[in-house]
Every structure is written in C-alpha cells, then in structure tokens.
C-alpha cells in the first residue's frame, strides 16, 4: 500500500514531463489527484480495519537504502551544480557537509536495525492532509495556471515542470510522514527542500532566484541539523529510529532535530524564506504553506514533542514559537499584499503550534494538532482564493479587494469563511487557542501566556480589517469578470465544506482523531476537552451560524429607506464622490490601517531575528554545554 502512496505521485511526476498536451495533462492531474485520494482512503480503511494499531514496516531494506544514498548524492550534486551556476556558496557548503555526514553514518556507523516505516494516528492524519488538501490544490492548479500565464506573459510557461514538482512534493511528503528511520526521513526531507527551492524559483525572475536560494540555504541549515542529529544518534544511541530519539530523550539530538523542524516551519530567525517564497505561483504557496512543507517541520516537532516536555530544548522551542507567534502577527498588520499577510499569519500560526509542541504535554499537543488541521484547511483555502482573486482582479492587494462582496461574491464568501476559520470564535482555531492558553498557564510559562495574549490581539486586528474590507458594500469603480475556473471553485468549495464540517463536528474530530493521536504519542488517555467546554462550543456554534442568519431574515422584513452616506454634507449623491476643495468631484477612497511605522517589517524584523537567534544560539550552547534543566 505504502509504495503506492509514494509511488503514484512520483510516477505522475515523470508522466508530466512526457505529456505535453495541456488538456490531457489536466485530465491526468484530476485522475492522479483522485487516485491519490482514493488510495489514501483505502489505505486508511485498511489500517483501521486492521485495528488501528501502530504498524511498523520494512525492517530490512538494503536496496532502498542504497537507492536513497544515491538519491542523497544526486541531490547534493544538483544543489552544487545550481549553486555554481548562480554563484552561491552557502548552499553548496551546507549541502556537501550534511551529505558527507549522512554518508559517513551510513557507511561506518553500526546501528541496530529497526523498522523503517511506521503508521499510526498521526501519520494517518498527515496522510489525509497531504492527500486531500494537496490533491485538491493540484486540481486547483490546473485552472489557476491557465489564468496565471494569461496574466504573466513575461513568465515562461513551464507547467509540466511545475506539475511534476507538485506531485513529486506530495510523494516526498508521504514518504516523510510514513518514515520512521531517520535516514529515510532525512532523504525525503532533503527532497522537499530542493523541490520547494525549485518551485519558488519557477518564474526565474531575479527576485525569485534570490528568494529561492534563501529558502534553500535555510532549509539546508535545518538539514544539516538533521544530519548532525543522525550522526549523534548513530554514535550515541546506536539507533536511527525516530521513536528512539523520543524515548531516550537525549538533549543534543533533540536540539538538532528541533532546529531542523524550526527551519522547515519557518520559525523566527529563519522565517525569511517563507516570505520570499511568496514570489512563487499561488498554488505552490498554498501547497508549501498549508498542507506540506511547513507541516513537515511541525510534524517532526509534534513527533518529538513528548520528549521536549519540561527540558531545555522544549523551552527553547516553545520560546521561539511564542516569539514567532507574536512577532509575525505584528508584522502581518503592516502588510497590504494579501499573500504577504497570509505568509506572516502562516508563520505566526506555526509559531503557536511550535510553542505548543515545545511545551510537550497532552493538552498542548492536542491543541497543536488541532491548530495544524485548521491551519492546513483554511490557509490552503485562503491561498487559493487569493490566487483566484488575483487572476480576477489583476491584483492581490487587500486594498483592491474593497467591496469584493459585491464584485465577486463567491470568492468573497470563500475568503470570508477562510478568514473566519483562522480566528473567529467558535471556529476551530479559537478552541485550540483556548486549550493552548490553559496548557500554557498550567505549565507555568508566563512569557508564553503573555505571547498568546498579545498575539491573539494582533491576530485579531489584521484578520478583522481584511474581513471588513471584503465585506464592505463599497461600490467599486469598475466591474470585473470572475475568471475563476470550475476546478478552482471545486477545490475551494471542498475546503470550505471541510472547514465548516470540522467546526460543526469538532467534538467528533476530537474524539476520533485527535485524542487517539495524543494517546499514542503520550501513551495515556486524558480528555482534554471537558464536556462543559463542548457544550459551550455548541452554544457558540449556534450563535455564530444561526444568529446572523436569523437576524438576516428578521431584518429583511423591515423596510429601510436608503439614503446616501454621510460625508459632511458634500456627498455627491452616489456615495463615491465628494465635492473637493476645488469644487470638483473627488473619488472617496478608504484604506485600511497598516500602522507601518509601528508594526512595519522594517522596524520589527531585525530585532526579532536578533532575539530569536540569540535565544537559539544561547540555547544550543547550553545544550551542548550539557546544562541540565
């Protein structure tokens, strides 16, 4: 079963290189995505039918090991070649260094053999996310890329390449989450780094190339951490099992793995790459920043989180997570590019998840998993809707989305649901925040409590202003034609439905999916969400869904006389123009607040990076110095 999961997308990736016809390619994508989803369903059914026990696979895999070694070397060569071509040194050094380390372990170290792959509830969850969200993103991409290339005539059409990368990425992600052996994970880890690098550089514009290299070296740094962890595990514990890392709880390898996780999930000193990645076409952003890439980092951290509880590494991870949460959310305020906002909010959300996993107790991990799920769905949805809006409006500036509700209502609704999902009570994010806050308090970490308090306030601010911009009934200057294609809508609708279902079925999701994960990770069971809270949830759900609808119908019944809006008495009558000082008509324009001078990236970026880096470096030093906590 597993080979199929990894194999199908991988094979498809090759197919795209061969099939050059756009139509056919589209159908293949649909079919492929469908196949992946179907496979996943079958796989899960099979697994659950088998008792939902933890499965271990492939204790002996000589050949595959060798293939992977070859793959590692190939990746290294690729990086070296590209680095030489674009004259970058850092990635080259990092890549060579880590490959050498890994090869060293592979060929010299004596390690106890163990299973290379594992399936448990967490894996299953990740598979669902990858297959469904990733799959739908692929479907969306078909439509999107058409529009994209109509808009960006200057960009060379390399769609086959793009699709290959997409599917390859899915394959790598499947591999990553299913693997259990560190070397295997490392292999897939590297693949994701490289592919993301290639996808970011899709347009081959100068900026894109620069940003892609930035992403590359940062991820390679994480890869280096990974490689070091492998070395340490191999030499110290003589094991390469991820479970072993957790169960032995040796700080240094944990630290190195955490470093890898932090870079992948774009935590603070390394968050630049994620921002830079926004130059890529939107589907790749959607894929990288919702369902896959960054989730790999988070996944790793969640995996090792039981070992992080209450030690120095956990403290570092959670501090960095907390810091990222608040800083990124502050910086998001100053952005008017929708994708930038999404990027920052991704970083900030990941920060919260990371902070949760850094604390490493049942509640926080529970919250982390929930946050991850909601984040995956709504971020993917938001990225897609922003992409579609961009194709429609020709701009992804939030300011240009003023009054989207009357221009392109469907997109506005979808975007609205996505935004609501990100922060509004009772959508999932909030309940997770509730749990996280409680857990932070329980863990006695006052800094994190403050972070979450301030961070949620700032988060609220930028989402609210976006939402109100969307829903404003502002009569636009021009009308636009919705050019969003059906497959795009299909994907977005799917996400919207999932979002709503997840909210409605939150208790069930908690009981059937998240609680088992936590139970498996921690080996005991404890209900994180008490019944009273669930009851509260129910009330809130009712309130948020029923109330506005009910009110809508009630208010419909009453007749309202419409009058022009108030503009100090000089409204020209159509709510758009006012008489200006020269006695002429002037177009009224309203912009959101961006507080650029207070929360601008220029002011916050450097300090936050410095602080985060300092925390990291000091933390690593302490860990190396063996300071016990």
């Amino acid at each position: 079963m597993i080979p199929f999961l990894i194999g199908i997308p991988a094979v498809l990736a090759v197919v795209f290189q061969i099939v050059r016809n756009e139509k056919i390619r589209g159908y293949i994508v649909y079919a492929g995505a469908g196949a992946i989803m179907a496979m996943t369903v079958v796989f899960i059914a099979d697994w659950i039918g088998g008792g939902a026990k933890t499965w271990m696979f492939y204790p002996r895999t000589e050949t595959i090991d060798h293939l992977m070694t070859a793959g590692d070397i190939f990746l290294m060569c690729l990086i070296v070649w590209l680095s030489v071509r674009y004259k970058r040194v850092l990635p080259m050094i990092l890549s060579i260094l880590q490959t050498v380390l890994v090869l060293y372990v592979e060929f010299t170290a004596e390690v106890t053999e163990g299973p290379h792959m594992m399936v448990d509830w967490l894996t299953i969850l990740m598979c669902i996310i990858i297959a469904f969200i990733g799959g739908f993103i692929c479907i969306y991409t078909v439509g999107y890329m058409k529009g994209y290339h109509q808009h960006h005539k200057d960009v060379k059409d390399r769609q086959p390449f793009f699709f290959s990368m997409l599917f390859l990425f899915l394959a790598a992600m499947f591999g990553l989450v299913l693997s259990q052996n560190l070397i295997w994970i490392y292999f897939f880890w590297e693949i994701t780094s490289v592919i993301s690098f290639l996808m970011i550089g899709y347009t081959r514009a100068e900026e894109a190339v620069g940003n892609s290299f930035c992403a590359l070296w940062m991820n390679l740094l994480g890869g280096l951490g990974f490689a070091i962890a492998i070395v340490l595990m191999a030499l110290g514990q003589e094991s390469l099992q991820l479970t072993e890392v957790v169960s032995t709880g040796a700080l240094l390898p944990l630290m190195c793995l955490s470093l890898a996780g932090l870079t992948k999930s774009a935590q603070l000193p390394f968050s630049t790459w994620l921002l830079g990645a926004m130059v890529a076409p939107t589907p790749s952003s959607a894929l990288l920043h919702s369902a896959t890439m960054v989730k790999a980092g988070v996944y790793l951290l969640i995996r090792i989180s039981p070992a992080l509880s209450g030690n120095l590494v956990g403290l570092i991870v959670s501090s960095i997570g907390g810091l990222t949460f608040i800083m990124a959310s502050m910086m998001a305020i100053a952005q008017n590019d929708a994708k930038k906002v999404l990027a920052f909010s991704t970083i900030s959300n990941l920060g919260l998840i990371v902070a949760c996993s850094g604390i490493g107790v049942e509640e926080t991990v529970w919250a982390a998993i929930f946050l991850m799920m909601f984040h995956a769905v709504s971020k993917s949805m938001l990225f897609q809707s922003v992409g579609a809006t961009e194709n429609t409006l020709g701009s992804r500036d939030i300011e240009d989305m003023h009054g989207l509700i009357i221009r392109v209502p469907r997109l506005a609704y979808i975007m609205g649901i996505g935004i609501a999902g990100m922060y509004l009570a009772p959508f999932g994010m909030l309940i997770s925040k509730w749990v996280a806050l409680k857990a932070f308090v329980d863990s006695g970490n006052v800094v994190l409590v403050l972070c979450i308090a301030y961070g949620s306030a700032t988060t609220m601010f930028y989402w609210t202003k976006w939402l109100s911009k969307l829903l404003c009934r502002h009569i636009p200057r021009d009308t636009v034609k919705d050019v969003t294609r059906k497959d795009e809508y299909l994907s977005m609708l799917f996400h919207a439905c999932v979002m709503l279902l997840m909210c409605l079925l939150l208790p069930l999701v908690a009981r059937w999916l998240v609680n088992p994960i936590v139970r498996q990770l921690f080996g005991n069971s404890k209900d994180v969400l008490s019944m009273s809270v669930l009851a509260t949830m129910a009330i809130m759900l009712v309130s948020i869904f029923v109330v506005p609808v009910a009110m809508f119908f009630i208010s419909r019944r009453s007749h309202t006389e419409l009058v022009p809006i108030y503009m100090n008495g000089i409204n020209e009558g159509d709510n758009r123009f006012f008489t200006n000082s020269y006695g002429e008509k002037e177009h009224l324009y309203l912009s959101n607040w961006y507080l650029r001078f207070e929360f601008g990236r220029r002011h916050l970026r450097i300090p936050s990076i410095i602080i985060a880096a300092a925390v990291l470096v000091i933390g690593i030093c302490l860990v190396i110095g063996g300071v016990s906590w």
């Binding site: 100090n568 000089i570 000082s581 324009y589 309203l590 607040w593 961006y594 507080l595």
Partner: protein
C-alpha cells in the same frame, strides 16, 4: 506602498461649529496632504459698502463675525476716522480698549472651551464656557448685546460705562480669574492634555514669518509681534508686552492664549484705573475721501482694514484681511504629518474664524 485614504473633512462637522472644509489624504491616521477650501460662509459683504453708507456700514462690519465683532466695529471705525482725520475723545478710546479686551477674553475662553471639546474633554469645555458666560453677561449689561455689541460708531462710542458698571466689571474679572486658575492648570499640566498638545503642529520661527502667520500663532513661534504695541487707541497709555513662547507647537499656542487672557485682565484693570472723564464721541461731518490701511490686533491676530473713500457717503472699497486668512497657510503646513485626531486640534490652534475670513 499602502493606499491612501482620501476623505472629506467638513463642512458640516461637529468639532467646529463653522463649516471649514479640507480634503484630507490619510495614511492610517496620518495626514499626508490637506487642501483647504473656503467659501462656505462667503457672503460678499465687502460689496455692501456700495449700498450702505459709511455710518451704517459699522453695523455690517460688526456682523462680519460674532466672536470678534467688537474688534471689527472698532477696526472699521478707526480706518474711517483715519481717512477723515477725526480725533476720537480719550474716554471713548479707553472704553473701546476695555470692550475690545473683554471681547478678547470672551474669544479666548471660547477658544479654550472649543479646544477642550476637540480634545474630548467635555468637562473642561463646560467649565470654560461657564466662566465665559460671566463676560457675556458683562457685555449684556454694558452694551445691551451678548454677542453683537453695536457700541462703536465713527467718531467714538455709543454708550458710556458709569462707575458702577466699571466696578462690576472689575469684580467680574476677579471672579473669572479665580475661576479659571484650575482650568489653566489643567490645560497646561494635565497629562492627557499634554499628550495631545505637546509637539504637535510645530511651526518654526522662520516658517511662521514666511507663511505669514499672525497673532498667537506667530507669537507662539517666538516672534514678538503684537499690533497693540503700535499704540493705537488707548494702548499707547497702557503698559503691555507681547506674549511670546518659543515652542511653536499647539501647546505653545495654548500657553500664549492663556497668558494673553491674563494680560487682558491686567489691561482692563489698568484702563479702568486710568479712564478719564469726558465725551464719548465727536460729531462726524462730511464724507470720507482717501484711503487707509489700518492694523489692529484682534483676538486671533493682526487684522488689516482697508478703506477707500471717494467723497461720497458710499465708500469705494472696503477690504478686510483677517488673521485667519493669514493663518490658513501655516495651518496647512502644520497639518502635514499629523494624526487625524490632531486635525481638529490643529485647526483649532489657529483659532479659525471662517466667517471673518470669508466675509
């Protein structure tokens, strides 16, 4: 680059009772551009000199503005008197000074109240206006009108103040002085007020001169210029120094106006002490012929009256350049870079009087 909001500010706006209008360009709440517009109160009363004779016109001049009404009457009369070469009796000159200073007190208290209102400080507004009420009552008692006084006439004043009135006036002033002490403390020392005034709308000395600021606005930027120092009317017999302040910000303007308030108290006291007995007006014969530019210091600063007569009872031209006209360019300058919440405050710190400006 963020988009900038373009919004209208005024004319109908509760911050200021008057219809001032600005086109504001905003970034968040920061004003990056402002274009003033006037004309919402434009009546065109300068042409009325062709229809009303020069004696009647005093009543119209007084109605140029209800705040500095007394000064307008005075300025117009003095300009005409200068053209015609009339010497006004001493007592009338003293009475004029007393009334004009009273109107300065009334105007400044009004301004303090409006400023407090713009700052959202309701109780301070109420207190200032409650105090102001006393001076209005005094006007009512001495001239018969709270707002429009109709006391000036070409050649003197229409009404006299007897000693009991003068005594009452002294008492009232003492009363007012006692009452506003705590208010002044609040204006000058309260933290929240300071956070709004200090450092906003800074106008440097050179800019103030170049942009032609006048009155408290100019003096708050450190320029000693108070037309009363020319010694027109009874001022030549009274001792006074221009009040200045070097801050150049809203706070400085507030300080200057508050100090002027106390200066006016002193001037009135001195004038009452020195007032001679005698006639209050001289008969006026003939019609004005010739021209004259006359400067007087109004509550808001130097106003210039231009009168040109042609020997008939209708003047050829009357023109008034009011202090607010001169203060609008500096205002526009100080508005740039301020916060939207500062806009009403900054507008108020020039103490605009649109009806004066637009006539």
């Amino acid at each position: 680059m963020a988009k900038r909001s373009i919004v209208p500010f005024g004319p109908q706006h509760p911050v200021l009772p008057e219809p001032i209008h600005l086109d504001l360009v905003l970034e968040d709440e920061t004003v990056v551009g402002a274009v003033p517009s006037i004309g919402y109160v434009h009546r065109g009363l300068e042409t009325l000199v062709k229809k009303k004779d020069f004696k009647q016109y005093v009543y119209i001049a007084e109605r140029i503005c209800g705040i500095c009404s007394c000064g307008h009457g005075l300025g117009y009369c003095m300009a005409v008197e200068n053209v015609m070469g009339i010497d006004v009796p001493e007592r009338a000159q003293y009475l004029r000074v007393i009334w004009v200073e009273m109107s300065r007190i009334h105007s400044h208290l009004l301004w303090l109240g409006l400023l407090a209102d713009a700052l959202g400080f309701e109780s301070l507004f109420m207190e200032s206006w409650r105090v102001r009420e006393k001076i209005l009552d005094m006007f009512d008692e001495t001239t018969g009108g709270r707002i429009i006084h109709s006391v000036n006439q070409v050649g003197g004043v229409q009404k006299d103040m007897d000693s009991s009135m003068l005594k009452h006036l002294l008492e009232t002033i003492k009363d007012i002085e006692r009452d506003i002490k705590p208010l002044v403390d609040t204006f000058l020392k309260d933290y929240t007020v300071q956070s709004r005034l200090k450092g906003t709308g800074i106008l440097k000395k050179d800019d103030a001169i170049l942009l032609g600021a006048v009155g408290p606005m100019l003096r708050a930027s450190g320029v000693e210029y108070d037309v009363r120092m020319l010694g027109y009317g009874a001022y030549k017999n009274l001792s006074m120094e221009p009040v200045t302040c070097t801050d150049g910000d809203s706070y400085g303007r507030c300080v200057v106006r508050i100090k002027e308030l106390f200066q006016s108290f002193d001037l009135i006291r001195e004038a009452i002490g020195k007032i001679p007995e005698g006639d209050i007006h001289v008969p006026v014969k003939g019609n004005p012929s010739g021209e004259y530019f006359l400067r007087i210091e109004q509550p808001r600063g130097e106003a210039i009256y231009y009168v040109k007569g042609n020997g008939t009872k209708f003047l050829d031209r009357f023109r008034l350049r009011t202090p607010t006209t001169s203060n609008i360019p500096p205002l526009v300058e100080t508005l740039k870079g301020c916060q939207l919440a500062d806009v009403p405050v900054l507008i108020l710190t020039i103490d605009p009087c649109i009806s004066c400006t637009e006539r």
